[in-house]
Amino acid sequence: MSRPTPEHYVAPFEGNDIIEIDAKQLPDRRSNLWLDAWRDLRRRPLFYAALIVALVVATMAFFPTLFTQVPPNDNCQLPLGTRGPNMGAPMDGHPLGFTLQGCDVYARVVWGARTSLTVGLLVVAITAAIGIPMGALAGFYGGWVDSFLSRIGDIFFSIPYFLAAVVVMTVFSEHKNVFVISFAIGGFAWASLARLLRAEVLQVKNKEFVLASEAIGRSKFSTLIRHVLPNSLSPVIVSLTVSLGAAIVAEAALSFLGVGLGSNVMSWGNDISEAQTTIRTAPMALFWPSLFLTLTVLAFITLGELVRDALDPKARARR
């Protein structure tokens, strides 16, 4: 076989081959980061499952009477005739049975959602209110501002936030309410959020559009608010949804340890704490609040992860 001399090949010319040089045509449907994320979420069954759980819990929190007619603390009147071996068993109108004190488990679970969700949302708000400015300013301005703010963050980071919350709750044992417990948790949990945002801002601030914004004449602070922050928020949003779940757990854990909300406040944590004494006689009193707690936390964490995946075009492409 001898080597053929290379010939000059010319492909048949198709008329429209080069007319459109800047060939990218606009797609018919609009697209941007958030729209694409929404389109992606819409197609995932897990998203609906998590969303339904979250919505049900939210409805419970806001309109508990839609779910139960039993008042939250009907003096825990144990209906007659249920003492004995069958103590705490479900009966008509009380589908999940009773606690040791004779309270309706179902009613307590429904009413408890409000406390858990309020604490969760408050903690998220506090975390964001402290963590976002700290992280954004530290990352954007750098230099001594960064050193100063980051060291403050590191100090809070070095204190285990749960331990700190226990101390705060013990000190404020006279004023146990959802605000105090939210501050006790959120006031020490913001450092990781600040760190996350700082790292993101460090990356975004080197993009050319930030330089372009300054070249236009925007001030540095205005550039931070208008361009850098909106482009750094997606990991923060994800982290916040996850911390919503974590805050609900923390409240339950504090209540379980007895330093949380007072026993007169209805919360899943309190219920779990109280039910531990009857785990052998009435295990379902422990099971139901735990189940709701787990489902809620799982739903919020799942939502957070789905949103993160949806916001990350690379993660979307991998599926």
Partner: protein, 586 residues
């Protein structure tokens, strides 16, 4: 071979191979990628042969499928890519169905590969020596540690690193880009492959380094009598380094043949357009700038670079005595680099530079990376404070200006950055992006802003419907037009173009250059054109200032510089333009 055969049969060098038989035959190759939008055909029916010792170049714009074709040959398709049809014969054996294990045997020993970006292709946490040894062992070239080390040192020596023993212990960050690429070429050739695939091996390097690396690559490949498959977007480079040229467009081969033949006598309209748009062409054609009228499509192309260059030349004379729009005197920038232990060292980024740009003209500030050209531009834009020296814009001195004064001056000078993907805020609509300067500078009425946005979109030839789209929906060229529109929003006198066309494909680049030239004429704009690409300078600049290590080493009109460069550095830059010595046809 039985299907349950587990013993890997390596390609045997001793196997009698007809030297005239093709080494690699690609037949009707189809490669698809699975994306959200469905299956995308990246390569559609590509066929070509590579003979032993031959050098072949695949040329195309981004998205043409040139890199995909190369990675298909070594079966390293990225992500969801998959060979959908056709076959790839390596020494007569079809490798498309090979397992990863079997393929690993082909890679390195039969086909070597040099990746694109030398900066990210060496692992920063391992020493260079370790990584070369790893490659040597993976290819079964050494069985003992000592042997591997010796072979690795040999590879580094061949890569042109004199003190290879010492270099072995160093880490990638202690190597320059050119040195790293030489190491990667050394790794690619370590096992004496019969074919070396180099995928844009020098696109991340400076022109003068590029030339040295390509010379090195060429001589190494020649030494080992290997064949070379060069993937590049640069027609001149391809023609200079390869004997056979394959031009790809949208996954298909549009033209192929002997390099010079294709370059001088392109037959396919696409190739003709590509050659007409390549700026290095003009460096040869500027004197005889008659545009061919018989080419069917070429005449329709409004952005013929040669015509553009001719027009510039005519105008240059008329502008000789225009007033200075930018005047820079003794500008200096010294950074202090922290060295630890509270010590810092001064680094002079810009060293007493002075130049003038006349109103309505273009000055190109040319230099390689690290020459200080971008720092100079940032100081002129007021984004960095000069250490000393004076900048005056349209007669206003910048030093001593109050914040308010600087803010007002900002409206008279604007900037277009290099990367059209990074310079637009992805979360704002096109209208919001273009209107931002108006908003910041106090055009408060919404209707007024919208009217101006529409006007600007017309000026940069984008449809008005694009106003409500987002940057991620636009192509690179369209985005760069948006960036130009934003820069023009406040009707500035001066526009700084910081590598504004360097990231664009040749054809799009030509379009944007044409747009910039039209706008300059229409609005009497003054351009400060920062670039590393001398070929582009030829067609856009009236005057050129060449920077090296913070200093301006030579200034002159574009013609003076290109025809009669006095400084050896300028001459070196000019010589390094790929394809400069070839007579192009179109």
């Amino acid at each position: 071979m039985k299907s349950n055969e587990t013993v890997v049969i390596p390609f045997n060098e001793a196997e009698a191979v007809d030297p005239d038989a093709p080494l690699v035959q690609v037949k009707d190759l189809e490669v698809t990628f699975k994306t959200q939008a469905g299956i995308v055909h990246a390569v559609r029916g590509v066929s070509f042969d590579i003979y032993p010792g031959e050098s072949v170049a695949i040329v195309g714009e981004s998205g043409s499928g040139k890199s995909t074709t190369a990675t298909a040959i070594i079966n390293l398709l990225a992500g969801t890519g998959r060979i959908f049809g056709g076959e790839i014969l390596v020494e007569g054996k079809d490798i498309t169905g090979y397992s990863q294990d079997k393929m690993a045997d082909v890679r390195g020993r039969v086909i070597g590969y040099v990746p694109q970006d030398p900066m990210s292709n060496l692992n920063p946490v391992w020493s260079v020596g370790f990584q070369v040894e790893e490659a040597v062992r993976a290819n079964g070239l050494a069985s003992t540690r000592k042997e591997a080390r010796e072979r690795a040192i040999e590879v580094l020596k061949q890569a042109g690193l004199g003190d290879a023993e010492r270099r072995m212990k160093q880490f990638p960050h202690q190597f320059s880009g050119g040195m790293r690429q030489r190491v990667l070429i050394g790794i690619g050739l370590a096992a004496n492959p019969k074919l070396l695939i180099a995928d844009e091996p020098t696109s991340a390097l400076d022109v003068t380094v590029q030339k040295v690396i390509l010379d090195h690559l060429e001589s190494r490949v020649h030494e080992q009598q290997a064949a070379l498959l060069l993937i590049t977007h640069d027609l001149g480079l391809a023609a200079e380094r390869a004997s056979k040229l394959i031009v790809m467009h949208r996954g298909r081969i549009v033209e192929a043949g002997p390099s010079l033949e294709v370059l001088q006598n392109p037959k396919h309209p696409y190739t003709q357009t590509l050659i007409a748009a390549a700026p290095s062409l003009a460096s040869k054609r500027i004197k005889s700038s008659t545009v061919r009228d018989d080419a069917p499509v070429a005449t329709d192309i409004e952005f013929d670079v040669a015509r553009l260059a001719a027009k510039r030349e005519e105008e240059a004379a008329a502008l000789a005595d225009a007033p200075a729009a930018i005047e820079v005197t003794d500008l200096t920038k010294i950074y202090s680099i922290r060295r630890g232990n509270f010590r810092s060292e001064p680094l002079t980024a810009v060293d007493h530079i002075s130049f003038k740009v006349k109103k309505g003209t273009t000055l190109a500030l040319v230099g390689e990376s690290g020459s200080g050209k971008t720092t100079a531009a940032k100081m002129i834009l007021g984004l960095e404070k000069p250490t000393s020296g004076e900048i005056s814009l349209m007669g206003t001195h910048m030093s001593g200006l109050s914040r308010k004064g600087l803010f007002e001056l900002r409206s008279r000078m604007q900037v277009v950055f290099q990367d059209p993907y990074a310079s637009l805020d992805p979360q704002r609509s096109i209208a919001a992006i273009i209107a931002e300067p108006l908003r910041v500078h106090g055009v408060s009425s919404r209707a007024e802003r919208l009217a101006r946005v529409n006007e600007l979109l017309d000026q940069v030839s984008l449809p008005r419907s694009m106003a409500h789209r987002y940057p991620n929906e636009l192509s690179g060229g369209q985005r760069q037009r948006v960036a130009v529109a934003r820069a023009l929003a406040l009707k500035p006198d001066v526009v700084v173009l910081d590598e504004a066309v360097s990231a664009l494909d040749v054809l799009v680049q030509a379009q944007v250059l044409q747009l910039l030239a039209d706008l300059q004429e229409e609005l009497n704009l003054t351009y400060l054109f920062i670039t590393h690409d001398l070929a582009v300078v030829r067609v856009v600049a009236d005057e050129v200032a060449v920077m090296e290590a913070g200093k301006i080493v030579e200034t002159g009109t574009t013609d003076e510089i290109f025809e009669n460069a006095k400084m050896p550095y300028t001459q070196r830059l000019l010589d390094a333009i790929p394809g400069a010595g070839i007579d192009w046809g179109a």
